[in-house]
């Protein structure tokens, strides 16, 4: 397996998804290096979730190719599953289970057990700031804590790649800020992160951005360079210029 830091961990070439006669993702090509935080930015319905779902092996692609961790998404989806963590756009832990039970469950379906499971549980509890709330029902936690727990469950099995689909939607600004600190911490440990958002301020935290509009990638660069090449003061202004 490749350990060369310059080699892309995620790479797509003309990746497309067609639903019936509607093209949700239109020939998208990009590559993400190890340890990078790659932000996928675009309005609702732009095709961000659809792209992520194809990369996670939840949805088959219509055309084009994509590799995740060196494995083709259509040919070796099972090998990809071992290597990725995924946090879906909708909160998808069990609200009727406690914090500890959710962690035990997601640890279990990734095959963790014994000392490793205990070890990872403790790490994740600390990281999510949930220590002491093991026996609280997940549904009774605040939105921000639920999101942290979801992130924790996605990284239980220490995946080198993390897909986060709008992880901060519906969370207050302070908690969003703290959540991004977590994300940057994970990235610093070499985890490659693909994160989608429609908050322009969050985009500034990303190493590189892909602007997506109506299924098409309309820009692909660092936040600073996107602003300078479009001559815009903010990313928001840049997006509007590029999209129109």
């Amino acid at each position: 397996m490749s350990r060369d830091p310059s080699e892309p961990v995620i790479e797509t070439r003309d990746l497309s998804k067609v639903f019936g006669r509607f093209t949700a993702v239109d020939r998208v090509s990009f590559s993400i290096r190890r340890g990078e935080i790659f932000g996928f930015l675009g309005p609702n319905g732009a095709g961000k979730s659809t792209t992520i779902r194809m990369l996670c092996g939840l949805l088959s692609s219509s055309s084009g190719t994509a590799q995740v961790n060196g494995h083709d998404i259509n040919r070796e989806p099972e090998l990809i599953r071992e290597a990725i963590g995924y946090m879906s756009q909708k909160f998808s832990l069990y609200r009727d289970l406690t914090v500890a039970e959710n962690i035990a469950f997601f640890g279990g379906i990734y095959g963790l057990q014994g000392a490793r499971l205990r070890d990872r549980t403790a790490t994740v509890m600390t990281l999510a700031g949930l220590t002491g709330q093991e026996n609280h029902l997940t549904g009774t936690l605040s939105g921000a804590l639920q999101q942290r727990l979801a992130l924790g469950c996605a990284i239980l099995h220490e995946p080198p790649i993390l897909f986060l689909d709008e992880p901060t939607s519906g969370v207050d600004p302070v908690s969003r800020r703290e959540f991004w600190d977590l994300i940057r911490g994970l990235s610093a440990r070499g985890i490659t992160i693909l994160v989608t958002t429609h908050f322009m301020d969050e985009a500034e935290f990303c190493d590189r951005l892909g602007f997506i509009n109506a299924g098409r990638l309309i820009a692909l660069d660092t936040p600073a360079r996107i602003k300078t090449t479009t001559g815009s003061a903010t990313l928001e202004a840049a997006f509007i210029k590029l999209a129109t």
Partner: protein, 374 residues
């Protein structure tokens, strides 16, 4: 294996935290069994009768005795005028009035025809027909006895008594329709709760999108399905025991056959029924839709095509062919055999084989359709 146990444990935790659904799974079949058991019971017993005896002889009293000896008729009133009888019928106090005319004993002794009058309230046609049937049989018995007595009296010993039909009812000696119905009902109700419960439990995860979170993990479809089904196998076994106990206490249905064979049959049945539940969950998106499809797919064909109400051999051949795909067809026949006739493995192996084949079919289809990539 680890992943299978993770699913299993989670499933049990969720079930435990939702006692209402669990209660529904166990008690709704029990409740429906009691309701339908009574409502569908075809037996007519304790028909309320008023008697107008204008003869008042030992013979007329012996006629009444033989009438009220059995549990089918209850004497509600002894009346003295036809008007009184009409009043009782009008008010629904009695279902029938038997009038024994003056001179009944005398006419019998002379060998003359006697007209016994029976007024029957036919507002419930089923009960009326049965009542008339009982009286027919009664008059036949009296006639036979009278003829026999007359011949003997005349010094002739009748060597031939003609054809006397003496039906021996096996397996269900009291001809109790409850006994026949209860095993059928058990099959239907268990089918309903098994299919509904499993399809809902899986579609719920799709609806809340927790399924997606499971699907991105390296879990295999069969680990997922087995882990989700096993708890429902146990719950359905509890439900089965509940309805069997009720069948015994309410309708006197005892299990003549082997418990082991009954258990094996039930397991094979659950294998097929739960597989069908999973299959339904793969073609529906919402719990509401899954519920409707599950009820329709489990109950409708089960009631119409399983032989529960309409005998399969009376159906058109094409329809008979379809019945081979109906899970309760095999289950109902097998448990009826075990419960009523002490059927052995040899007697019901075709049914067991049917269940096994349908089970394999549904489960293979279901696992095949549970692809991880949409």
């Amino acid at each position: 294996m680890k992943r299978f146990f993770a699913i299993l444990k989670k499933e049990f935790r969720q079930i435990r935290r939702d006692p209402l659904s669990l209660g529904l799974l166990v008690f709704v079949p029990a409740m429906l069994l009691s309701l339908y058991g009574y409502a569908l019971s075809f037996d007519v017993k304790h028909i309320r009768i008023a008697v107008l005896d204008d003869d008042q002889t030992p013979e007329s009293r012996s006629l009444q005795d033989s009438l009220f000896q059995n549990p089918y008729f209850d004497r509600i009133a002894t009346i003295t005028s036809p008007r009184e009888g009409a009043g009782l019928l009008d008010h629904g106090r009695v279902r029938a009035v038997l009038a024994i005319p003056r001179g009944y004993a005398r006419s019998l002794a002379r060998g003359e025809a006697v007209n016994l009058q029976v007024l029957v309230d036919a507002s419930d046609a089923n009960t009326a027909t049965t009542t008339i049937g009982y009286f027919d049989a009664l008059s036949d018995r009296i006639n036979r006895r009278v003829r026999f007595a007359a011949l003997t009296h005349a010094g002739v010993t009748p060597a031939l008594q003609g054809v006397v039909l003496e039906p021996r009812i096996w397996f269900n000696p009291e001809l109790s329709s409850a006994k026949f119905l209860v095993p059928g009902l058990i099959g239907l109700l268990l089918m309903l709760s098994a299919v509904v419960a499993t399809s809902l439990s899986i579609v719920r995860e799709k609806e809340r999108e927790t399924m997606e979170q499971i699907m991105v993990s390296p879990i295999r479809p069969r680990e997922l399905i087995l882990g989700k089904l096993l708890p429902y196998v146990l719950i359905c076994l509890v439900t089965m025991s509940m309805v069997l106990l009720l069948g015994y206490f309410l309708f006197g249905v005892t299990i003549r056959g082997s418990f082991l064979l009954l258990g094996l049959t039930t397991l094979l049945f659950l294998f097929a029924a739960l597989g069908m539940g999973v299959l339904i969950s793969t073609v529906t998106r919402t719990q509401q839709m899954a519920f409707q499809v599950a009820v329709l797919a489990s109950m409708l064909p089960a009631i119409i095509l399983s032989g529960f109400i309409f005998p399969i051999q009376n159906m058109p051949v094409a329809i008979q062919g379809i019945t081979y795909l109906i899970i309760p067809r095999y289950f109902v026949e097998a448990i009826r055999g075990i419960i009523l006739k002490n059927a052995s493995f040899i007697d019901i192996w075709p049914q067991l084989l049917g269940l096994l084949i349908l089970g394999l079919l549904f489960n293979l289809l279901a696992t095949g359709r549970t692809r991880k990539t949409a």
